[in-house]
């Protein structure tokens, strides 16, 4: 159980719940509710039904023929972009909304970067008839306007956050402050495998369906449930953990996580936490984070709002320390190039986040006999402006 969480909420030395006492009861209650539903047959049945009929799971595993020919290997895409709302984020929000219901919470809050988690939260709130408030950095509101419109159409209130770099980190701070002020009636749906215990465990649980499906689908298509490698992008790290988790104990499966290095890892404008970060505390969790020598959290930068985060989930920190996952990085330009290539070869417009995973293909040498799965975590409708503007340059 090298990669499982311990009784105190740690993966190795990372994790825990470094939060003000004001949130102690909330996390305690959440942990209890999660333990209850994790083994509750009725809950599991209802959740699975919704995952099938509402989300559209299982998401297809698609053999990308032309991309495979180009890279002289066998590339499969896990099509999380085909989920309802267009990304993997809904796997988590749909699970957590049941937790909220079980705890009789009437009000849901969330943070969002690219807006995918915000949309997925607004969606499940509409589904359950619950009030929804989404905190979003002012910078992100500007660069992901279509998702702001979607959240509002779904009945959510989007609150712009003007502190700090006005991106995901600051939106998360503001969501935590809201929760501190509304401990009784509110559930905070965190969108990634970050935050205090038990969030990393809960989000990992709900996202791990991605890897479980990959194993089944790959066995059907190739006769072998294990790929040679899985590649996923990582900001907080939920789609990567979702794709990797099932394969963690099978050390033969190589796992690659790709961070956004923005304008380059040494440019000062980057979000490559594993390169530029060191262990500390961010958003209630002990993990790697980008900070200055005095322990002040630094402002990250990445073209993709979903990867623009100075921390990373504690399980990732542990997997990095244990060398189970290879952490790589791709610049803005690498990601854009990879996205245009995917459009050209496969007719798929990926989310800018997911494009970072595709950028790794150029950097890893695969054999013709290898099987490579890329987690295509989201679709690129929200990024059209960025794609169009950069294409013209």
């Amino acid at each position: 159980m090298k990669y499982e969480i311990d009784e105190f909420g740690y993966y190795g030395e990372f994790g825990g719940a470094y939060i003000p006492e004001l949130l102690y009861n909330n996390l305690h209650q959440l942990k209890a509710a999660y333990k209850e539903i994790a083994t509750d047959e009725t809950f599991i049945g209802t959740l699975n039904e919704l995952l099938t009929d509402y989300v559209g799971r299982p998401s297809p595993l698609y053999y990308a023929k032309r991309l495979s020919e180009h890279y002289q290997t066998n590339i499969y895409l896990k099509r999380e972009d085909l989920n309802h709302t267009g990304a993997h984020k809904i796997n988590n929000t749909i699970g957590q909304i049941f937790l909220a219901q079980r705890m009789r919470k009437k009000r849901i809050i969330a943070e969002t970067g690219a807006g995918q988690h915000g949309v997925a939260t607004a969606t499940v709130c509409a589904l359950m008839g619950l009030e929804c408030i989404v905190y979003m950095g002012a910078t992100d509101i500007e660069r992901q306007q279509p998702n702001v419109d979607r959240m509002q159409l779904l009945g959510a209130r989007v609150v712009p956050v003007h502190s700090g770099s006005q991106t995901l980190k600051d939106a998360t701070n503001e969501a935590i402050r809201d929760w501190i002020a509304h401990p009784d009636d509110t559930h905070y749906i965190i969108g990634s495998v970050v935050g205090p215990d038990p969030y990393p465990e809960i989000v990992t649980h709900f996202q791990s369906i991605i890897g479980k499906e990959i194993a089944i689908q790959l066995a059907e298509k190739t006769g072998n449930k294990n790929p040679t490698a899985i590649i996923a992008c990582v900001g907080g790290g939920s789609n990567a953990i979702g794709a990797f988790h099932h394969f963690l104990s099978d050390e033969k499966v190589a796992l690659y996580a790709v961070e956004g290095s923005g304008e380059g890892i040494y440019s000062g404008r980057t979000a490559a936490t594993m390169v530029q970060g060191k262990p500390g505390i961010i958003h209630g969790s002990k993990t790697y984070l980008m900070q200055d020598g005095d322990g002040q959290i630094t402002e990250p930068y990445c073209i993709s709002a979903g990867l623009d985060y100075p921390g990373i989930g504690p399980l990732h920190a542990h997997l990095f320390r244990e060398k189970r996952v290879h952490y790589m990085h791709a610049t803005d330009d690498d990601a854009l190039t990879a996205a245009y290539q995917l459009m050209k070869f496969e007719g798929i417009i990926p989310a800018l986040e997911s494009a970072h995973a595709f950028a790794a293909l150029k950097k890893i040498k695969f054999l013709q006999t290898d099987t490579v799965v890329i987690n295509l975590s989201g679709r690129g409708d929200k990024d059209l402006t960025t794609y169009v503007n950069n294409k013209q340059q």
């Binding site: 006492e21 700090g164 500390g280 961010i282």
Partner: protein
């Protein structure tokens, strides 16, 4: 003897603690503010260590933290400022800071340098009780530093007793849910929460904070617990009008104590 213990040995009621952000409004305001507080009716001085992401703080303290960081404050700088502070004041001094900067500075070194400067107690709002007990406690004990934990009206009695057991300075009672700097109306729910804590007869003295910004709030909490802590209200008052910082401080303290 630790000055916090000494204070509560001599005085059990109406303890007034003032919080301010180190390095704000200017880098060197830290000492100036301590001097003025020493020369006032304030019983204890709480110095905030600025952090980029203060998650339990409202806008006023967030902004003072940002400004202080811009001014160039750091733990290193703060300790240099406090080097000779015991020539300036004999009042108990508490440092309040989020855990990450302390962790990066080194928790053990932090405790020993704090002690050398004459600091009496530490508040780390995001350091969990369990991790304190398992890892950090020896550093505090070796340096005779009091550790002050937060509690809320929702904290269960079982947990309260546990905190009371480990806590060594005063317990910081958060008056009602929410971040610092809100205007709390001390209605029935708040006074009931205060009364509940009062009736537990904890071993540690209790000071109430979060949302106390004027004479009225201060007087109400003093009826139930050992005193109150004022932060955001004080920080707002620092830059009020055309008066000097000194005048602002004395005017504010007077208004609280009137």
């Amino acid at each position: 003897m630790n000055r916090i213990k000494e204070l509560f040995n001599n005085k059990r009621r109406d303890i007034l603690t003032i919080y301010f952000t180190a390095g704000f409004p200017t880098l060197n305001s830290t000492i100036e503010i301590i001097k003025e507080l020493d020369n006032s009716e304030v019983d204890m001085i709480e110095i905030g260590i600025p952090f980029s992401d203060p998650m339990a703080d409202g806008v006023i303290i967030q902004e003072s933290n940002q400004a202080a960081l811009k001014n160039g404050i750091s733990i290193e700088r703060l300790f240099l400022q406090l080097k000779d502070i015991r020539d300036v004041t004999h009042k108990p001094m508490v440092l309040m800071g989020y855990f990450n900067p302390i962790m990066q500075y080194g928790a053990e070194k932090f405790c020993s340098v704090a002690r050398k400067c004459g600091v009496d107690g530490i508040i780390i709002p995001d350091l969990p009780l369990r991790e304190y007990q398992a890892i950090y406690r020896p550093f505090f004990e070796a340096n005779d530093l009091a550790i002050c934990f937060l509690i809320t009206p929702e904290t269960t009695e079982e947990r309260l007793r546990k905190i009371d057991e480990v806590n060594t300075g005063f317990i910081y009672l958060v008056t009602s849910p929410g971040v610092t700097g809100r205007q709390v109306q001390f209605g029935h729910a708040q006074t009931e929460a205060l009364r509940k804590v009062q009736l537990l007869h904890l071993k540690n003295p209790v000071l109430a904070g979060f949302g106390i910004s004027n004479n009225e709030g201060y007087k109400i909490v003093c009826k139930y617990v050992n005193g109150g802590i004022i932060g955001s209200g004080f920080i707002s008052a620092l830059n009020n009008g055309k008066q000097s910082i000194s005048e602002n401080i004395h005017q504010f303290i007077k208004s609280i104590k009137s």
